[in-house]
Point group: C2
Chain length 383, copies 2
């Protein structure tokens, strides 16, 4: 375990090492562009219709924006989460003693969504048993998906305390190793590997930004990205991306839903302190968790993450509609939050207009996942 | 015009020449694969749940199928139709006299859907006026889309006779040149170029199959496709694909909706005669038209098109759900018809099992377009 601890470092180099390890198991997802979306993002019209800003006495911003969409909705299990899950398992498997425990006792995690399926797939790939705790209110399709990857699904209540109790019980009974979704702010886990695994997950998620940097260069005739904007829930992916961009000159931004205080990172940055409890039922269900303890250290460092912006439910839905109808891509609501910021958040757009000038910015936008259903689409867009 | 007529030939070579002409204007759309869909297509399960066959005394077929999806839903204007539209215009523009007429009087067509936007875009690209007749019951988004490409939209009733009357009126008034959607079975048009343009459109649509052949080879380590299955409405695309596959050994199949007799090509092949009138409100709205006179000559030639298969509305919807939820792609119902055949049509699956044996087939599947809206998705999947 010591070797493992010293080999992981929270840096661009650490992300590159993670990439070498996970590459064989994941898709190099495509990066796509859309002249229609570029046109919308570069006009005043989009912001005008849905902006939450008062226009009195001023014109809406008219930045020049070229978007490069990293399609992690086309990733295995439909989301970026496989990157962290595979990386964590690779790191654990490198230690012979842990590898033996894994093979026998398996891994355990709690998740109602994409991390569950990601860990289940990573575990099955290596013949490792997986115990996944899911809230008993989870949608049947997600439960079926997780079981489909061969995992043992264990139901729990949906509160943190209920989840904790079941987690402890499963770990004690099976001896399985806990692999956290990205950070695990509430649990006082006695598992020595936890901190290391959080780092492994962060570095794993960050690998998408290395690919995005390269792919945007190719698409853009050698001109690099000016910025990347990503969703922020627990903050694992945003932290990993920030590390992957160190020293590249690419500015990293986070994005959150504002509904019922879901923008805890943004609010935490204002008050200078991490907000630890969030209770929101935003449609961006992947972003309902507060930022974790370890990811906060990265996200609250302005040299790593320049800023975090929030959007309303209507703005998220409008972005999702554009992606579905214009780009012909299925993305989940959480994955539309960065695009919603680029299209509708006046503060963000105004900042770009000022900083970029007429040349504009090339912005990498992370489509984090595509796990939704026609029923959910129906519900989201019912009048 | 004579030079034009002799330069167009209904052959693979003709399609290759069309490709050289349209390449600068269109996307080389991606070809994607899906292990999930391959697994489903190669199991008995999918057919069992939705097949319209009686199972008494026999097992459902269990063919081995690997699918290669040609994503024309990601094509400009969201559908393959730009290929034919650009090719027709390129051919017309090559004649100086016609080019002058075009620049002054423009082009005209009737279409409620993808051909309208395709011709509008092609015309705008060359600074040519476009007059598009649309039924006054067209969905607002399609009207807005067509106007968005700068076309002059002219409304007509939705019957053939009403459409004809308006077409004649517009042509007489403007001197614009008529560019047919793919075939134009009812009109006794007096425009000399019509037959030539029908051929130009067929050859243009066929270019997608040239790309699909190459892209599947690359994805499949040099092993060619065994078959391509495409939707069949007026039959322009299916004919073009058949020409593009001549001499390659690739078998070409058509697919249609069976609802209210929408499978006119399939039924026509059985009775040995083209069926000229169809009245169906199938959800596959791009396939409501009967096969045209010229396309029928190709489609009814078993050396060119091996067979045509039909699927039910439920089978189309089930295929569309899989594409949305598993492949994260937005496709319109018409575009799901070929996949529905591969997954659910027992006759087709049984034939593959017999002909391909355990090695199975590599099948190119045409996702012809992605022009749908969240409202349409909502309506389609409302309980």
């Amino acid at each position: 375990m010591d070797a493992l601890a010293t080999s992981l470092n929270l840096s661009r180099n650490g992300v590159q090492e993670a990439h070498a390890l996970v590459k064989p198991y994941i898709h190099r997802t495509p990066v796509i562009t859309s002249s229609t979306l570029d046109k919308l993002a570069s006009s005043q019209q989009s912001a005008e219709t849905l902006a939450t800003t008062e226009w009195a006495g001023k014109q809406p911003a008219k930045p020049t924006i070229r978007l490069f969409f990293k399609c992690e909705n086309l990733q295995k299990v439909g989301a970026f989460k496989v990157r962290g899950a595979f990386h964590a398992l690779e790191r654990l498997r490198a230690d012979p003693e842990i590898a033996a425990t894994l093979a026998q006792n398996g891994v355990v995690t709690h998740s109602s969504g994409n991390h569950a399926q990601a860990l289940a797939l990573a575990a099955r790939t290596h013949g490792i048993p997986a115990h996944i705790m899911m809230p008993n209110i989870s949608t049947p399709s997600k439960i079926a998906g997780t079981k489909g990857y061969g995992a043992n699904v264990v139901f729990s209540g949906s509160t943190a305390a209920e989840r904790e109790a079941i987690a402890r019980e499963v770990i004690e009974r099976t001896g399985a190793i806990f692999v956290p979704p990205s950070d695990h702010p509430t649990s006082k886990s006695n598992i020595c590997t936890l901190y290391i695994l959080i780092i492994a997950v962060i570095l794993g998620q960050g690998t998408l930004a290395l690919e995005l940097q390269e792919q945007a260069l190719e698409l853009n005739n050698g001109t690099p990205l000016d910025a990347i904007i990503a969703p922020c829930g627990g903050g694992g992916m945003l932290s990993g991306i920030a590390l992957a961009c160190e020293g590249t000159g690419i500015r990293v931004f986070g994005s959150e839903p504002s509904f019922q205080g879901g923008d805890d990172a943004r609010r935490g940055l204002i008050v200078g302190e991490r907000i630890t409890t969030v209770n929101t039922l935003t449609i961006a269900d992947g972003l309902r968790t507060p930022v974790g303890k370890y990811t906060w250290r990265i996200i609250s460092d302005p040299k790593k993450v320049v800023g975090v912006y929030a959007v309303t439910e209507d703005q998220i839905k409008a972005a999702m509609r554009l992606v579905l109808e214009r780009m012909k891509m299925v993305v989940e609501p959480s994955a539309c939050v960065p695009l919603a910021v680029a299209l509708f958040n006046e503060e963000f757009r105004d900042m770009i207009e000022r900083e970029a000038g007429p040349a504009g910015w090339n912005i990498g936008v992370v489509f984090s996942g595509g796990n939704t259903t026609v029923e959910e689409i129906r519900k989201l867009f019912s009048a």
